[in-house]
Amino acid sequence: MSKPLLHTSDLTCLRGGVPVLDNVALRLMPGAALILRGPNGAGKTTLLRTLAGLQPPGAGRIDAAPDSLTYAAHADGLKPMLTAAENLTFWARIHGQDVRGESGIDTALAALNLTELRDRLAAQMSAGQKRRLGLARLLVTGRPVWLLDEPTVSLDAASVMLFAQLVRGHLATGGAALIATHVDLGLEAETLDIARFRAAAGRLADGFDEAFL
């Protein structure tokens, strides 16, 4: 049996210094996707940001290879005054990936049906087009584990299918994805309802008000 790409045990996630999730245990194998469910405010974003290393966990451990995760959130990280190709080139270079060739930006643009918009400024794109460009960024990072927070927001039905195909392709090459979504993507994936990890209310971590920071 191969090693999991991402593995957590007894993880406590904090938001503003207050624990929202306790004892989170999840395991992501190569080629597998895990769908996160839970009502608004359940802590899906908090969990993903903690896994991405954007905020320190309150307790527990996260086991993942260094530089193996990438995160896509509500904001796409696009510069309005750069073209689609320039935006992707930037993210490819930052991650030390080839800009041209098989895994280059043109492949990523084609995968999300953006080839025609290659030289258009991000400022002149629609919300759905920007979202697709933000998702194309995942391909140029070359990272195996995708942490996706509501990736299908503002996508039309056809684009959602395109995205599902993208995730399937990523899984087929040994990648993994952790997706917080309310939409049925039609993926062969396990579903994890994070409501069962909800932390006991009103407890401050170690009695130290980190929210003050």
Binding site: R49, A52, G53, L54, Q55, P56, D67, L69, T70, Y71, A73, H74, A75, D76, G77, L78, K79, P80, M81, L82, E86, T89, F90, W91, R93, I94, H95, G96, R137, L213
Partner: protein, 218 residues
């Protein structure tokens, strides 16, 4: 890292990037001085080094809040924090980009504006040297202030309040180099202190800025 620098420079010269804003501000401040204090050559010459330094410092301040705030708003800062380059390097590169886009044009324009304020000729090279040696400190300190206020709505004013007191030593030694140069005195001692300040700020503050960003991203 070069990709980040090139992107920031490219964004600066595109529409809305703010390139030239600081330069125009510097020009206007210097043009306003004779209206306020009178146009006598002797009086202007006496205050020219201080006024030019103060003008350059305020012009630098003008664009500080853009260093991290734009990247924070569009989510780029989150993604950069996940990227393989360390956040310390991101902070250093951002300060460098700010210096190239904002401070370097000020340094180059300073001799021209010095003429307008009757700065004595021997003071001209020392003005440029003092600005060259001192503005890296302004960018480095400013990027630290920008990192501290990055998550705040309308943090610009707070940023000025945090950064201006930190600019005091740089201003004192920078203006002193320019003044001594203009009066034909030996400017080496304040210049060494100014250079030391800049080197210290450039070496240490990216680490402080990265720590501040990490806290603000939580």
């Amino acid at each position: 890292m070069r990709a980040l620098l090139l992107r920031d420079l490219r964004l600066a010269v595109r529409a809305g990037g703010g390139f030239g804003l600081a330069l125009a501000f510097f020009l206007i401040v210097v043009v306003l001085i004779p209206f306020a204090v009178g146009s006598e050559a002797a009086r202007l010459a006496a205050i020219a080094p201080g006024v030019l330094w103060l003008g350059a410092l305020l012009a630098c301040l003008l664009s500080l809040d853009r260093i991290f705030a734009l990247d924070f708003e569009d989510g780029s800062l989150d993604l950069l924090a996940c990227a393989p380059i360390p956040l310390e390097a991101v902070a250093a590169i951002k300060a460098l980009a700010h210096w190239l886009v904002t401070a370097l044009p000020l340094v180059l324009a300073a001799p021209l504006l010095g003429l307008m304020l009757h700065l004595p000729t021997p003071g001209q090279p020392w003005l440029v040297i003092s600005l060259l040696a001192g503005t890296p400190a302004l960018s480095a300190i400013g990027s630290f202030g920008a990192a501290l206020t990055v998550g705040l709505k309308r943090g610009g004013l707070l940023l000025s309040l945090i950064v201006l007191p930190l600019y005091v030593p740089t201003l004192i030694f920078g203006a002193e180099v320019a003044r001594r140069g203009a009066q034909g005195l030996d400017p080496v001692t304040p210049l060494l202190l100014l250079g030391g300040l800049s080197l210290g700020a450039v070496a240490l503050l990216p680490f402080a800025a990265a720590a501040a960003i990490r806290i603000n991203l939580r």
